[in-house]
Point group: C2
């Protein structure tokens, strides 16, 4: 059990989109900053989404019509809420299933050749 800060390195690549879609699926609607904080807190600081990654992604998902937005003002400060469109819900499901299956496949790969009694080499 080591304490290291842990920046989940290059592994986020390819999974960020799915993480965001999943969060929106579970939470109905969220704004950008909220997403970064929620992920940080849910993962115990292990995954910290950078703004440079998140905002362009949200814009792209809006452009592809998977997300729709509504802007609200808290005092003078703006919040842009995102929610899944009907299409976005399908995309979300597809992406989440795909990620789950990919992780299963990875487990198969990582556990291959385990316990075949030729661990002499290591």
């Amino acid at each position: 059990m080591y304490i290291c800060p842990m920046y989940s390195s290059e592994l986020i690549k390819g999974t960020l989109r799915t993480i965001v879609l999943n969060l929106l699926k579970e939470n109905g609607r969220m704004y950008g900053y909220e997403i970064t904080q929620r992920v940080k807190e849910l993962t115990d600081d292990k995954i910290q989404i950078t703004e440079g990654a998140l905002y362009p992604l949200l814009h792209a998902l809006e452009a592809s019509e998977d997300l729709e937005t509504e802007v609200e003002f808290i005092g003078k400060r703006q919040r842009k809420y995102y929610r899944l469109t009907k299409q976005g819900k399908q995309t979300s499901k597809k992406k989440i299933d795909e990620l789950r299956e990919f992780m299963e496949t990875l487990h198969i790969l990582l556990d291959a050749n385990k316990g075949t009694s030729h661990g002499l080499i290591n």
Copy 2:
């Protein structure tokens, strides 16, 4: 249960290095083409490593001294075998642990808010 060919899309990004290091850890030594075929067969064609991704990666891992090579000839055809160096074994372990932990974290994220009895929104 759908039959689709399945190219694991952009998800491989960031995991390929770890997959290769793990295979070499389990198998002692392998050559490039063998790695592509083994992954293909272990994952039931779900992950197909492209040569354009693999060979540059192997070269990089050799340059960083995580891998060492020996060339053999089968008839006139050359095979370049790769194996983990001592350093490579450490790198391998680190990367594999990191990937396992990352996948655990992903599961936490994907399962967050499940069963909190407010699934009315979807």
